[in-house]
């Protein structure tokens, strides 16, 4: 139990920034460049951490609460979700609701911190982020319902248990593929990746997530960046477990399989970002409604 907890946290804290490095490297290779070193995101975090805080006089404690909550939430959420074949250290009936709404809490504080600055850009970004997340929520819940239907429990450990391997081979395989696609879209939206958002843009008017953190600097920005990396790893843990439900029977093998899956997701994101343009902003809600419908369809298939 305690060992599992430490392994979980160690994996998360050590490997999350690497995923960002892999995405950047993939994009650089597609663009014909060498690109930044794989470990650049670690260097960036160290550099930011050494800097001082800068706070605008118009802001309050909420401004700092945003990054702190943004860092703590993925850590808590990580304890609820199995990393590949490694079971979640904390598990209880209905923890999937907590898992989903922990991220809601972090979003609430990020948006509040953005509004706290009083900047017109940040307000705009907060509106966009909240709107898109609202639309992404049904997809996540319906997908989890599909998983709940296929298992006989309501904790993430049971939902993402060893029965998935047989479920893939049964009739439920179609539903599982559908929710895999839906959850991947949600992963891209939640982590502000192309085609929904462009994490590299400097154009404040087109940003969604990035614009909300424009006024943060130094350690606060480091917390935000680290929190974002953790969030991506936690959310893609869901995908990795769904796509690679195998168990090796040896904990090191399980860790290896899990990390390979995470790297695979990062490369896939990099490939998508290198081969696609961003969607127009009004198209994003349409896509999210589409994924909601797909996940409802997946649910109908398993309820049949």
């Amino acid at each position: 139990m305690i060992g599992g907890l430490f392994l979980h946290l160690a994996l998360l804290l050590l490997f999350a920034p690497l995923l960002l490095g892999i995405i950047t490297k993939t994009k650089a290779l597609f663009g014909g460049r060498i690109g930044a070193p794989l470990l650049q995101s670690y260097f960036d975090l160290a550099r930011l951490w050494r800097k001082g805080f800068v706070f605008s006089r118009t802001t309050t404690w909420v401004f700092l609460a945003g990054p702190v909550v943004g860092l703590v939430v993925p850590l808590l959420a990580a304890l609820l979700i199995p990393f590949g074949a490694l079971p979640a250290p904390v598990s209880f009936e209905g923890d999937l609701i907590l898992f989903v709404y922990l991220f809601g809490l972090s979003r609430f504080f990020t948006a509040l911190a953005a509004l706290d600055t009083g900047s017109s850009f940040e307000g705009m970004g907060a509106v966009r982020e909240v709107t898109f997340s609202c639309l992404a929520e049904p997809t996540v819940l319906f997908s989890l319902l599909v998983l709940a239907r296929l298992s006989d429990g309501l904790s993430l450990n049971t939902l993402l248990g060893s029965h998935l391997l047989t479920a893939w081979q049964s009739e439920a395989g179609a539903s599982l593929s559908l929710i895999l696609v839906c959850l991947f879209v949600v992963l891209l939206v939640e982590n502000s990746r192309i085609p929904f958002d462009d994490p590299n843009t400097h154009l404040e008017l087109t940003m969604i997530h990035e614009v909300m953190v424009l006024d943060h600097s130094g350690p606060a920005l480091a917390m935000i960046l680290y929190g974002a990396a953790l969030k991506m790893m936690v959310l893609s843990a869901l995908l990795v477990k769904l796509a690679l439900p195998w168990q090796t029977g040896w904990w090191l093998g399980d860790v290896g399989l899990f990390l390979a899956g995470q790297i695979g997701v990062a490369v896939l994101i990099g490939v998508i970002e290198s081969s696609m343009a961003r969607l127009r902003l009004p198209r994003v809600p349409q896509v999210l409604i589409g994924t909601s419908l797909l996940s409802i369809f997946a649910l109908v298939l398993v309820l049949r």
């Binding site: 994009k27 663009g31 014909g32 307000g123 008017l205 970002e273 343009a277 961003r278 969607l279 127009r280």
Partner: protein, 504 residues
């Protein structure tokens, strides 16, 4: 109407001011509106102080007749504004009001243009303190009020490394109701510095009038002096200038397409075009040692010859670059996700473009055939493959650039093949006294118009520069109406206007 009082002339002519009729204002106004109604457009409109009041000069271009019309009248401190009847004059009239304190009465949008003190000791019509330099952007912005309406102010300092300009959006949610653009942050006072010239520094100031249009501005400037001096530029120098102008167009158009791809997050074209732009800039560097063409064009000719080994080198490099460029550009225009962003975004109707007096790429993307290379060549016409698109959206502006890139390659090859032998520099004698000369050069962004007027001693008494951006910023403000605010950077990039070319 009394047409005999208009002077009609072609590009390269030098007009004696003594023979120039001075119309009374009513005649001036009626002739101008009649010319505009008869397919004319404003190429330049400026004032010059006279003994009793101010001389107004209007230069109207008739593209398909390949000629210009010149109107001249004298006004006092106040005159009835022409803008209500001819909207393309609105910035020109504001400019005159700021420079000389001449009030265009009834101007619907009378705000400062570049935020500088009046050039003459006239009372400032905005009652600003003449002892202090005005603060750029200090003006009353248009405001929309109501539930759900919010204001977004962007700039003058931007997130990217670009020029300074202030943009004020009135939005309802994500929709832009109105955009007002306030520039002038880079005003250097180029025009007054040229008075009494040409000075030794003038050519260098022209090279920096708009740093990305060095060849365009220096060519226009040189042509004005050549017309005033009555010297015809050697045909070899003329061709070398044309080649340099196309190289400048290539580098900038490719940079623009890459930047547009970057704005929609399409990395492959953004990366490739960034590299290719550098390669084209290096071709200009081969020619004259400067990637931006500084030091190449000089009044009377060109300072660097395009000799045989260099011709070979350019042709070889172009042969390598052209397929690479086509690959990078076509990749972007073949990509459905990119087209979904480009098509239908930032649309401007042909009528609006004509009313606002747009020029260059932006005008051609709206279906207006305005290309000085075609209509107003100073010597023989080498160019006969103009490009237009009719949709007026971001795609059209990108597409015009794409087709012009391909046309420029052909044009450069053709120019090198037919490069005439002979001298490349002729000395200029003294400039004709009391004369006016106009020069037009199709820079990559659009037509660059320079007008020079000399005094009795043959020195420049007034020099007027019109960068294409001066016409086109209004077009950008116009296309934003009803657009998503998140599409502003893309629309802006598709115009890619110059801030310093406007600010002068």
């Amino acid at each position: 109407m009394n047409r005999s009082k208009l002077i009609r002339f072609t590009h390269g002519a030098c007009i004696s001011l003594k023979e120039l009729p001075c119309l009374d204002f009513t005649e001036f106004r009626e002739s101008l509106l009649e010319e505009i109604a008869g397919d004319g457009r404003v190429a330049s409109f400026f004032a010059m102080p006279a003994d009793d009041g101010f001389d107004l000069y209007a230069i109207l271009a008739h593209d398909w007749r390949e000629e210009f019309a010149l109107l001249h009248c004298r006004v006092g401190d106040v005159y009835p504004a022409l803008t209500p009847d001819c909207p393309q004059l609105h910035l020109f009239e504001r400019e005159i009001a700021e420079q000389y304190g001449v009030l265009p009465e009834g101007h619907p949008w009378l705000k400062p243009v570049r935020f500088h003190n009046s050039w003459v000791d006239a009372a400032d019509i905005w009652r600003r303190d003449p002892q202090q330099h005005p603060i750029p952007g200090d003006m009353d912005f248009y405001r929309v009020e109501g539930a759900g309406v919010h204001e977004v102010a962007v700039g003058p300092v931007h997130a990217g490394v670009i020029e300074p300009g202030h943009f004020r959006f009135q939005c309802h949610g994500e929709e832009v109701l109105s955009l007002e653009i306030s520039l002038g942050f880079q005003h250097r006072g180029l025009e007054p510095q040229l008075i009494g010239g040409p000075h030794p520094a003038s050519i260098h100031q022209m090279e920096a009038a708009a740093g990305d249009t060095t060849i365009g501005h220096t060519t226009a400037y040189s042509q004005v002096l050549e017309s005033l001096a009555g010297v015809e530029v050697a045909s070899r120098a003329y061709s070398v200038r044309a080649i340099a102008l196309e190289l400048e167009r290539l580098a900038n158009h490719i940079g623009d397409i890459g930047a547009m791809a970057g704005d929609v997050g399409y990395l492959p074209t953004a990366s490739f075009c960034g590299r290719l732009r550098g390669d084209y800039l290096n071709l200009t560097a081969e020619l004259c040692g400067s990637r931006f063409g500084r030091g190449l064009v000089r009044p009377g000719g060109v300072a660097f010859d395009l000799d045989l080994p260099l011709q070979e080198k350019l042709l070889q490099r172009l042969a390598v670059l052209e397929p690479e460029t086509r690959g990078a550009v076509e990749l972007c225009f073949d990509s459905p996700s990119v087209l979904a962003r480009f098509e239908g975004t930032g649309r401007l109707s042909t009528d609006d473009a004509e009313t606002l007096g747009l020029v260059g790429v932006a005008a051609r993307a709206c279906g207006l055939m305005r290309d000085a290379r075609l209509h107003h060549p100073v010597a023989e016409r080498e160019f006969d493959t103009p490009v237009i698109d009719t949709d007026g959206d971001v795609f059209a502006r990108g597409n015009v650039r794409r087709q012009e890139i391909y046309a420029s390659h052909d044009l450069i090859r053709d120019l090198i093949k037919r490069l005439p032998e002979g001298e490349d520099q002729r000395s200029l004698g003294p400039l004709a006294a009391d004369s006016l000369a106009l020069s037009v050069c199709e820079g990559w962004r659009g037509e660059v118009v320079h007008v020079g007027i000399t005094d009795g001693a043959g020195k420049l008494a007034r020099y007027k520069i019109v960068d294409p951006s001066f016409h086109n910023w209004s077009g950008l403000a116009m296309v934003l109406r009803g657009q998503q605010i998140s599409d502003f950077p893309l629309c802006n990039k598709s115009f890619n206007l110059s801030y310093c070319g406007f600010d002068l």
